[in-house]
């Protein structure tokens, strides 16, 4: 899950070196925290949150596969 978000985020931003992804695993739900450079925040969120929404959709498809739930949090 972590690698998936990390790959997508790095491909979208200007500063891939500043992309940090942390996965906090819970029993049923894991939280994926995505941190990017301040200037890149808009790139991972997108117009009206479209990019963030698309990432969450892909993430939830990936989670269904392993029968878990995942949440994506973008940290400022």
């Amino acid at each position: 899950m972590k690698d998936l978000i990390e790959y997508i985020a790095k491909a979208l931003v200007d500063k891939p070196a500043d992309v940090a992804v942390k996965e906090i695993e819970g029993e049923q739900t894991s939280v994926i925290e995505l941190k990017v450079a301040k200037e890149d925040l808009g790139k991972v969120i997108g117009k009206q949150g479209r990019t963030a929404r698309a990432m969450r959709t892909i993430l939830s498809a990936a989670s269904t596969k392993i029968k878990k739930r995942s949440l994506l949090e973008i940290i400022e």
Binding site: I8, A11, T57
Partner: protein, 248 residues
Amino acid sequence: MESYEFQGKNTQDAIEHARRELGLPAERMEIEIIEPGSAGIFGLVGGRKAKIRVKIKQEPPDEPVGEESPSSIPSVKPSAQETTEGVEFARSSLEKILSLIPVETAQVKSEQTDGTIRLTISGDSSGLLIGRRGKTLDALQFIVNRIVNKVFEERLQVIVDSENYRQRHHDSIVDMAMKLSDKAKISKKPVSTAPLNPYDRRLIHIALREDGEVETKSRGDGTMKKIVIIPRKSSSGQPGRARSREDI
């Protein structure tokens, strides 16, 4: 698989270096971007070179490869070159995402017409990858579009499809448009659709454009709007309205 790293002032430049150095067409290279590079502030401070990793794919058996030698590259028009690279880049990006989901069985075929790249996913995970009402497929398409258009200056449109979903969806939207317009004509009252995305709205507007008995209007704010199908007052109810489906 052998892999090489290349640098350039931007990603496109690095890919071009790789092509020259390896003397291979873009189709045979699997490109991974390590560092997209940046011009820095006013091109002075903090500029970084773009870095890519290239893996060479096995030669496809039925394709003549020898014809694209390094010396022939300068004669190729830059735009044509960019598009073949675009297709390959789009495909390898999608493949990478799928492998991380992970859906191992998925295969991606690519084709291009002008500025449009069509990627078709096949394999037994199609249901998962399409999602409810194509939600996941749309998300993948959106992300791949973003990734591709970040690297290439030329605007490229990427369509991600699986199990012919796009065509099936097109047919069902047009079918719905026809049913709702019938309803509007019979009841002589405006009929409204559910909130739809711009692409689906466009399909409905086009489907009903030729129909003189109704007009279509988008209502609402934001990306999701409803379409109202309004029956035209003139000439309807006259004996000559042979175009109504009820009369056929």
